[in-house]
Subunit: 351 residues, 4 copies
């Protein structure tokens, strides 16, 4: 494959831009565009280079055309050095202030979900996480309430105002999940479900992309690039532990990945210490470590009565534990000078 990045003239008109895109499609090549301060950026790719290069050379409206060597040009830090801020509802992610997302592994009953939602909001959570479609190793395990659970999500949002984060497994569920949730999660097992990524990109909704269990950081950023290449810049990454030989914890939380992602990419990154350790007692220290490593926030599992949770009880905080954690994380955020930034960086708009 040949990939090129081109910059248009500042004064290009919509018609001229559309004309370029039409001709690229005839190469045939694919393309995605981004408005910049001085025109538009075009990322375009085709099976072979010569025809594409010739087409790009032909246009008088392009001021710079470069072959792209990175496999994730749109996710790369170079493309947006100041870093991206992704808004989920009214909550900005990536603006400096640590974001706290909390909630139960699974929706169980409306009462338990509302009890949890109210408590985590009171303790300072920014969003509510909750699963209704649960990918489980065994076909005989609890797989979540499914579509029936979506109403609970809508109710919890209406009641608390918290944006909802939930996992999506099946492209055929996108519309109804997008109706009930604000941040659509792609789980670790689906990080390279490219069909799902491409369809989610088309929704334009914010996506939380968890790292695969044995994905390298480069593969993860390539998966993010699927979303960006198909037009959706609202991508938040989430480190949740990788698979190693170590057995004292459920996974090995790779906090190295936080500064590595910050170096390589402009995308915000959260950390999930609940799955990353698998044990409640390790969640508070690893949440603090995540912020100190530079993460934009944490996402933790909380249940009013973990011992009765239908899934992941061993790694869920109870309500008072979460309240203490939230207080401590705010203090650490302040100690790290991580208040919300005064003026947010100007967002680059989708074309």
């Amino acid at each position: 494959m040949a990939v090129y990045v081109a910059q248009t003239r500042d004064d290009i008109t919509d018609t001229q831009l559309q004309d370029i895109l039409t001709r690229l499609r005839q190469v045939p090549a694919k393309a995605t565009t981004r408005r910049t301060r001085t025109g538009f950026l075009i990322v375009t790719w085709a099976e072979t280079g010569p025809l594409l290069e010739a087409e790009l050379a032909r246009s008088e409206h392009l001021v710079r055309v470069l072959p792209e060597s990175s496999s994730f040009p749109l996710a790369a830090r170079e493309y947006r050095p100041e870093g991206s801020v992704v808004r989920v509802g009214a909550v900005p992610v990536g603006d400096g202030r640590p974001v706290i997302i909390a909630g139960p592994c699974s929706a169980e009953t409306p009462e338990v979900l509302l009890e949890t939602a109210r408590a985590v909001r009171a303790a300072g959570a920014d969003m509510l996480r909750v699963g209704v479609f649960k990918p489980r190793t065994s076909p005989y395990s609890f797989h979540g309430l499914g579509p029936d659970g979506l109403a609970m999500l809508r109710d919890a949002r209406a009641e608390t105002g918290l944006p909802i984060v939930t996992e999506i497994l099946d492209v055929r569920d996108i519309d109804r999940v997008a109706d009930a949730a604000d941040l659509l999660q792609v789980g670790a097992r689906n990080m390279q479900n490219f069909t799902l990524l491409t369809e989610l990109a088309l929704t334009g909704r914010p996506v939380l992309l968890k790292r695969g269990l044995s994905a390298t950081v480069h593969e993860w950023l390539n998966a993010a690039e699927y979303l960006l290449a198909h037009g959706n810049d609202h991508v938040i990454l989430c480190e949740r532990g990788i698979r190693t030989f170590e057995r004292a914890t459920r996974n090995t939380l790779d906090l190295n990945a936080v500064p590595v992602v910050k170096h390589l990419s402009h995308l915000p990154i959260l950390v999930d210490p609940s799955h990353g350790t698998g044990a409640t007692r390790y969640v508070p220290p690893m949440s603090a470590a995540a912020l100190a490593a530079g993460a934009d926030g944490v996402i933790v599992e909380v249940h009013p009565r973990p011992a009765q949770a239908l899934s992941d009880g061993d790694q869920s905080l109870d309500l008072p534990e979460f309240a203490r954690l939230a207080t401590n994380l705010r203090a650490i955020g302040e100690a790290l000078g991580r208040g919300r930034v005064a003026a947010e960086p100007e967002l680059v708009e989708l074309a």
Copy 2:
């Protein structure tokens, strides 16, 4: 979740069986059945045990009801000690004789595919492997010909008579792929795409389930159990290398998995030394090792001109290399006493 395995009386009627299943659905529980030599086996599961156990205790047509501790009762060796034989077209997999599957990573042109198909058939291949939907790390890589390539598969089958093995990525493609191929492959990245597994189960078509890059053998057998629990016993496993720290090979081919799977499960298992090593020169010795470890066959990448292949050229054999390999593998199969078994084990029929 509570899982039970029940055995019906030998003389149970269809009506009586359907009646049991209807009442299980009302618990509510799910169930799958298998005809055995002495009636039917019922595997049934529900969120909580007491109601299900009470329902099972009520039926006079059940002669044995046991709580199931294994997470893969249908894939377990205990369930079918003699081993399963899965037929793909006219080719039995699992009957002792090593099966050889060969072909290009991707369909490129009708001419190249036919050239390859004829050559591998002449050299003794049992099936043709070829991809039209390619999962690729980067959105800017060649992703296969897509639906347009399916006609080539039908033509290659018509021309050579070889059953076709091809990967499927999207549930929405199942019908058209099932029309062009005989063995539907679930790739490593999709081993835990439970949506895809469940939908493939419903087709009743043979499925080749590759091991995930960091999946344990138990997780792999659980993924197979998704297919079996939803009614499809025509499952062939494929070891294709796992992810480790070693960098001299693309993956670490885990041949331990072959005798482990043979011990734990009745399902046939193939080995893919092309992806398992990533280098043509290592394919012949590791193919031989796979058979010696007890694999039911190998699946290897072959291209008439590997240097020109659009993908995976570094690990593809050329046509003379494949012909030599096939000859050697037949010799090793004979040395191991692995001719086709005279009388095949009686297949347990789906209910």
Copy 3:
């Protein structure tokens, strides 16, 4: 093997204790003792249990005898719930205040070492790390100055007063290294060099035990137990990254190990983000994360001119970078409430 833990009466005399130990040796069993607030603790082990158990049952001076199921009874948190403080020279490790150890990978020249030592002391380092025996993958690499470098270590200590941390590779070097250094480091490659551990135990000197590249936390604590079982409680652990599939960093720093070790053991634990990441730019955020995770300190590589370092230049901080890091870590330590504790916990003395 059978392992027992016995507690003596409070008023046991030295003669009576020696008598017990003599009889244990005749079982034959091995034993190690620790003075406690109410007598002595005896850990004793033999090939088979019955004779040992009978011998223990015979003594009137033992008030409690229990079979030990943990493989690291002396390293276990239960044995000393308040945590251990290990003194290296005048520097306590494990008392709450984060310790900072810094210095070059290798001793190169007296001038460079002194320049570094003075600078890191001025910036607030508590100890000086420096290698003279370097384990290197290749026989053709620089292996350190060897014995000739030890004089430089003595000079740096005399000049700056900083305790010296250096690695030891060969049991035959113990005496001369112990003469020049205060904290003897067992490197990752030697974590299970049980000969070296046993001989180091006999010196009674503080030991810094790095985690092996693919050692589990349990294996690591077992390695520490070798030191304790042979009479040396002055053990400090050091997480330095494990080996995984990830290639964006030299190793995967496993900060999960910090709270896991704190939960399982009373031993202090440091973190080495230089080897744990392999890149200078990732050292500051991962140092902060280490403290936030609960580590008792960090050990980092510093060189006045990293580009000219004979080894590990890519992961060494220069002097201003270290000064900034030290300032930040002190601030984080204070934010975490990690000043030096007012009254140190009473140390359990070696018998």
Copy 4:
């Protein structure tokens, strides 16, 4: 470090060669030599290149001087394309015929060891493996009989004529172990115990170098290079399984390593399926697979009564199981055309 490989003139005299080596030592550089068909090969290395290069350029007896880029020039296949044969007693390893080494994990009693030795010899074993120094994770485990066990090894050799393979842990034991054994094993935990490797090199005795639990093939060949660079070419490699996330087997036997080592190096390679799987039932298929992959032989644990073995009983074959395995492996060796080669390749002599 700078490394150079130089070839002397065919007619160089001993005095002239010694003169070159003396001058190299004065650079200062280190050097090792090998006699070849046309003179001597000199591998020499120093901290910096220019002085060494100048010294090499000065000599009129050198016909070719090349900077060496490989980190293991002496272990590399290029150095000896025909492959090395290492003799252990009268047994050649690497000449094509598969070698079978068998015996108990540990020496326990003279009677059990002799019973095992006679049985494995009768079944066709080429050497006897047996441990007296056992590296164990826990200080409270059975560590072997130690020096007292060495007499049993001498007796077993005298009685059966089988060469003895045993592990050595401590440089201070080299002389007495070398007196009792023929092939000195460096275990996985000591693969990078460079002190031990260097001292073993000086003995000139054959060494069996096991791969470290998480060592890459390149690191392993570098460890072998330590032996060769210090003058000992009698090195046999042994793959024994690496550490991965998989839990169904004790380790993941990496048979890919066999053809990779054969491609990169001239050294013989054995496979240890006992440690590589951890379960008796998997030893026969993985032994066969090892030979099919191209290994020069296998080393397996055998005990007359595995259930009573003091260590590794779970992975030991009993005597009839071993006899069957040996018969099968001979058959597979013949099927693979792996009889002993008629004329052995001329061994390159140590200078």
